[in-house]
Structures are given as C-alpha cells and as structure tokens.
C-alpha cells in the first residue's frame, strides 16, 4: 500500500491561493469552506520585514487527533494514510474540529445546496445544466472509495456533517494528483508515495531539510514543508480570509 504525503516548497509559494480555488471547484466545497488555505504572513518591523506564504491543507496526520476523538469512526485512516471523513456516518458533533490543532475542518452549517455562493435556482441555467447545484458539480464525488467502499469524496455533501481536505481521494485513486497539487502555478506543491524512493516527495525530502507543522504535538503530519521555517509567535497573518457562511 502506498504511503501518500504532500511536500510544500515554501521557497516557491507566492501565496496566490490558486490551490484554494482549484480545491474549491474540484471538490465542490460550499461557501467559506477552505479545505486548502494559504496563509500570507508578515514578520518583523519596517524596514526589516519579511513576507511569506504557507499553504495549509489537511495534514493527514498519522497520529490524528481527529481520528482518535471521533465517537463513531466517521473520521478514519485509510490504508494509504489518507485521513478520510465518511460523511454518511458523521453525526456532526464537531469533536474532530475542536481536536484538530490545524483548523482544517469545516462543518456544513447550512444545507450545502443553499450555500454555493449564488442562487443557482435559475430557469435559464437549469436548461443548460439540468439544475445541478452548483452548476459545476463534479460527479466523481458521488462514488464510494477505497477497499472499504465508503463515501469520503468531495464537499457539500449534507447538512450537519463535517468535511475537510480529502487529498482528493477521488483523483488519487485514479492515479491523478490532488487538484491543488496539479494546479499549483509555481509547482510548490508535490504529492506522492513516501514508500517509493523515486517519488518526487521522497527525493525532495532526501535532498532538502523539512519540517512539519506543530510536530511537537505528536500528530505526525503527512504534510512536509521545505524551503522555510514554521511560523512563530511573531508571525502575523495578513490579508486573512475570514469568510463565513
């Protein structure tokens, strides 16, 4: 079985948030749900300031606090190491969300169909799209995945359940890269199998020093950062997105 991991090259990231958008369209996530988020940071005082950027997907931790606290096993580890959310089992207690130190969980506070940015209830549009909401609804997300055949793909699935970055399980199972990685204009995001010594991620991790976020929490994240340092308490977020439903 593969051991999937993501490697993020901070030296390349321009903080453009194209990954955020690629994720949103691919996974049909509702308003304000940013499974992939990119921090824009500022440090220091004028004129000795430093500006940098840090993408934040789900860390898909190997010792995932969210998996441990899930009362019903809706949040679970797949054999390939992806931390998945079975939205058919989730009871919406949001314990995973409070347990997660990374803030990657998003709850469906509303009926997703009514939470896709615009009122898509439009006759002229329905004539073309057949009335799907959103009009760019991705049918791949409707399939069960993994040997366990559980419903883990995509966002905006049901009111009152938790969702988060899936590492694009529906793409990964087809041998494609997660949408954010596939689209990154600066090739700052990498994805692959750590068990394969020739994969990009293995090679990058061999070549460059890396860190993982909040490693001291013992969560053993599967997202590695190279080419930079973790944020410190002196790191201020700028241009933060505070989208609410």
């Amino acid at each position: 079985m593969a051991r999937y991991a993501m490697v993020i090259d901070l030296e390349r990231c321009t903080g453009c948030r194209a990954c955020v958008e690629a994720c949103k369209v691919e996974n049909n996530t509702p308003t304000a749900n940013l499974w992939m988020y990119v921090f824009r940071f500022e440090e220091g005082e004028y004129p000795n300031t430093h500006v940098w950027f840090m993408p934040r997907p789900c860390m898909h931790c190997d010792n995932a606090p969210c998996v441990k606290v899930c009362p019903v096993g809706a949040r679970y580890k797949r054999l390939d190491g992806l931390t998945a959310t079975d939205w058919e089992r989730c009871i919406g207690c949001r314990y995973c969300e409070v347990a997660c130190p990374y803030g990657v969980n998003y709850f469906n506070w509303k009926d997703p169909a009514e939470n896709y940015y615009l009122d898509w209830n439009d006759e002229d549009l329905a004539a073309v799209t057949g009335g799907t909401t959103p009009p760019y609804r991705n049918p791949d997300l409707d399939q069960p995945y993994g040997s366990e055949q559980r419903r883990v793909a995509g966002g905006g699935r049901a009111k009152g359940v938790i969702e988060k970055c899936t590492f694009c399980v529906h793409r990964v199972e087809q041998g494609l890269l997660p949408a954010c990685v596939a689209n990154c204009p600066l090739f700052a995001l990498h994805f692959g199998d750590l068990d394969d010594p020739n994969s990009t991620v293995s090679r990058l991790l061999r070549r460059k020093p890396s860190f993982r976020l909040l490693e001291e929490q013992g969560t053993q994240p599967r997202v590695y950062y190279i080419g930079g340092k973790p944020p410190t308490t002196e790191t201020r977020q700028i241009e933060e997105v505070k989208a609410r439903v």
Binding site: V67, Y76, K77, R78, G146
Partner: protein
Amino acid sequence: MRTTLTLLLIVVGFGLQVVSYFFLAAPWGIPSSPAYSNPRVPFAPTIFILGVVLVFLAAVVYELLPERGQ
C-alpha cells in the same frame, strides 16, 4: 438464588463492559486503517451499555425478586 442472580448480573454486566470495551468495540492503538473505525462486532457499544445497565439492574433484581419460598 436471588443473591446468585444479582451477583450473576453484576458479573455478566461488568464482563460485558470489559469484553465490549476491550475486545468487541473498535480496536485499540493508533488508528492506521479503516478497521479502527468500526467495532469488531456490530453494535459493540450497545453491548457495553447493556453491561452498564445489567450491573445496576442487579440492584432492582435484588430488591424486587421475592425471597425464596415465599
């Protein structure tokens, strides 16, 4: 008889709790596969609760069950 039944209930109750908690419910350890998300026996949590209920039911049984021979 009544005492026996009561004790039996307590023992069975605790037994169910222990068995369910450690052996029937989802496996222990750091979750690394879907197996950790499912109870090994369906409705294991219900069995645990049943155990809790049985233990306390013992008191009811103890009090309510008529004395032998009465």
